[in-house]
């Protein structure tokens, strides 16, 4: 452990030291997760730093990060362990003679079967198991950080077998027995809410909802991640981002987009946010043609000085909203 995480504040500080700016809520949950040794289910919109959180915690605590990326069709063979079928088969072939040695002197079929039975643990042993990330995290000698990324992309049944891992930190291999974790890893599961996770899974986790950051926090993030950016420019950028987020868009831009945009502006040597510049670079933050069009239409209104408009008017989520003229 490179830094002790003894209180909520200490957690926040050590995350900050690793370049992860967060509010106390996140720090509180991370602290609790370490104290209670419970997994954390991190949810929130895409690109707010869910995966990053796990990485940073791993770095801050000096634990190795074991990552399991979930996708549709992921099964235990790829996540947990797999018998090395070909190796087993190869060994039986090579050991054929040895086997006949073992069988030597048996007269009845029953006797032969018993002898083979006495040996079968050879073929179902650690030697023939290929450990996948979960088993890895469980059997590792030192404490590790396990990241199960985008768990919502996996199938519901995969979730079911995560349960054993998450609640007891153990893995049962029917042929061998149960592997108990030598040291409990800290586990992060991230989800984009593509589907709702089962209650059973949620019950075993602490829940953390990371939302878009406040302007203050986002500006700090910008300062840390994109050094060398003009303060005023950063402030303007963040303010504009927040206004864009209040639009009703297909894909709302998140922190990673803010950072990309900031870097792009830096590369373009921009000194101030001008409307034309924003229009030209808008495709950095918005990924749909329709979104870009909408944002561009609203742009001049959004970039008006705050004094001229009373608060950023949030687009109402009204189904009957007319797609009218915007000027």
């Amino acid at each position: 452990m490179s830094s002790p995480m003894e209180s909520v504040d200490a957690v926040q500080k050590s995350l900050e030291a690793e370049g992860y700016i967060c509010d106390r809520r996140i720090a509180t949950v991370v602290y609790l997760a370490m104290q209670l040794e419970k997994p954390v289910l991190v949810e929130g919109p895409a690109g707010v730093g869910k995966t990053e959180l796990a990485k940073v915690v791993a770095r801050a605590t000096g634990r190795p990060l074991i990552r399991l990326q979930c996708y549709e069709g992921l099964d235990e063979a790829k996540a947990l362990y797999e018998w090395e079928y070909s190796k087993q088969l190869l060994y039986t072939q090579i050991l054929k003679e040895k086997i006949s040695e073992v069988m030597e002197g048996t007269r009845t079929l029953r006797e032969a079967a018993e002898r083979v039975g006495a040996q079968d643990s050879v073929f179902f042993s650690d030697q023939f198991i290929v450990p996948r990330p979960l088993l890895h995290a469980i059997t590792a000698d030192e404490k590790s950080a396990l990241l199960i990324d985008e768990v919502d992309k996996s199938d519901p049944e995969f979730e079911a077998f995560l349960l054993e891992v998450l609640s007891d930190f153990q893995v049962t291999v029917p042929e061998i027995g149960t592997f108990q974790a030598k040291s409990k890893p800290i586990v992060f599961l991230t989800s984009n809410d593509a589907r709702e996770m089962s209650d059973a899974l949620k019950r075993r986790c602490l829940h953390l909802w990371i939302d878009y950051p406040s302007e203050d926090v986002e500006r700090k993030i910008l300062e840390v991640k994109v050094p060398g950016m003009d303060r005023k420019l950063a402030q303007d950028l963040v303010t504009l981002m927040h206004k864009i987020r209040s639009l009703d868009l297909k894909k709302t831009p998140s922190i990673s987009e803010t950072l990309d945009w900031a870097r792009a502006l830096l590369a373009l040597n921009a000194s101030a946010l001008e409307e034309d510049l924003v229009k030209e670079t808008m495709n950095v933050i918005l990924k749909y043609e329709a979104d870009i069009r909408k944002a561009q239409q609203e742009l001049s209104r959004m970039m008006a000085k705050p004094a001229a408009q009373p608060g950023a008017p949030a687009a109402p989520a009204d189904p009957a909203r007319k797609k009218g003229t915007l000027h």
Partner: protein
Amino acid sequence: MQRKILEFANLLRQSGLRVSVAEAIDAFQALDELSLDDRDVFRDALRASLVKRGDDIATYDQLFDLYWSGFYDNLKNAFDSATGSLAEQGIDVQQLLEQIRQMLESGQLPEGEMDLGDLARALLTGDLNQLEQMIRAAASQAGAARIENMLQIGFFSRRTMEQLGAENAAGELRDLAARLRAAGMGDAEAEAIGKLADRFFEALRQSVRDYMDRELQTRNFDYMERFRREALFEKSFYSLTEEEIARMREVVNRLAQRIKNVMSIRKRRLKRGKLDLHTMLRRNAGHGGLPFELVFKERRKDRPKLVILCDVSSSVANVSRFMLQFVYSLQECFTKIRAFVFVAELGEVTQTFHDHEVSKAIEEALEGGGVINVYTRSNFGMAFHTFWRDFLSAVDAKTTVLVLGDARNNYNDPKAWCLRDIHNKAKNVIWLNPESPSAWGFGDSVMDKYLPFTTLAEECRNLRQLSRIVDRLVL
């Protein structure tokens, strides 16, 4: 503290959040690890362990404020103001209480020990913590959790006061004053004690009312929330407001998602098929016939084709709206979807769904999709005939035909034989009617004429019925 957390968990449950016992225990453990001084940390810790859905966070935050914003503070305010007004009359409450305490302890009282009740004792010692707990206990004894409206505040306050034994305590205090006087206390002081008791009881009554008021607010909040959720499922499509349509859209999306999940399990089960011996032997020929690589048969997925005929006249527009949303959210569950809308004329809107995203496409389709006139009277006969004439080729033995409409034909020719021909060609004909079966065939309803040519005809008037039908459609 544990009791309070359990009660809070209960409250969350009543508001429709799922909070298990294990999660409540987590909350205890979490709080053990933290100092409770920081309100924000406390809130976040409880939230992390109790609330597991993004959607529920808003509810949680509101309830948290209602529940934890300290009834204790109310109590303290009430008693502080009581003390303040006594001070204006020249009575130093602290000193007086101290005096009483000393007299009680020194045993100066005649006729042996005074036996003061808990309430009187708590009042005299100014132990607000104790008082708060007593009020909570008494309120729950009085059944305050059942409070439902403003008018009951008085009633439950009275009952709580009774449970607290307020009468008794008042008597005890009067008694005490008399005894103290007998024990040699000045008249002025004895009078002060009387005033003090009056003011304190007033404060107590006020606090109990406050308590009921808060209780009502929290309960009401649950009630409203739960009502809104439940109602949406049961509410008839006929009477949805704009806002409900928006909310409903989300619900439909979530349901569609759930159905997709179930589908994915089924698909995976199919994939785990039997060994494909043929291919396996061929592929492993290089290993001397030893099966190093296993090959499994992949079974073909049986996805239905769907043809939807939607009546978009105003009477059934909402059913059509949600059915279309459902079907298009589940697009990947079908091989092919063709959507038609009709009032009297019939037109295809499949292309609309290709060109626009779902919600917009639906709005457009409901307005006729630019292909039909929606401002006429329904004519099912004509619509079916058009379909029979122009699009019958779209129907084959794998096609499920879904008809949405109330079959109110305005006394036109029903042309049931068109539906018969469609029925003969299709795998299924499913008819969803927003009217209840008892109304079928009455007035200008020609449902009875069409009924023989449907595989399944169902009433579909609210979301629950709709989701059941969609379930059957894809599974």
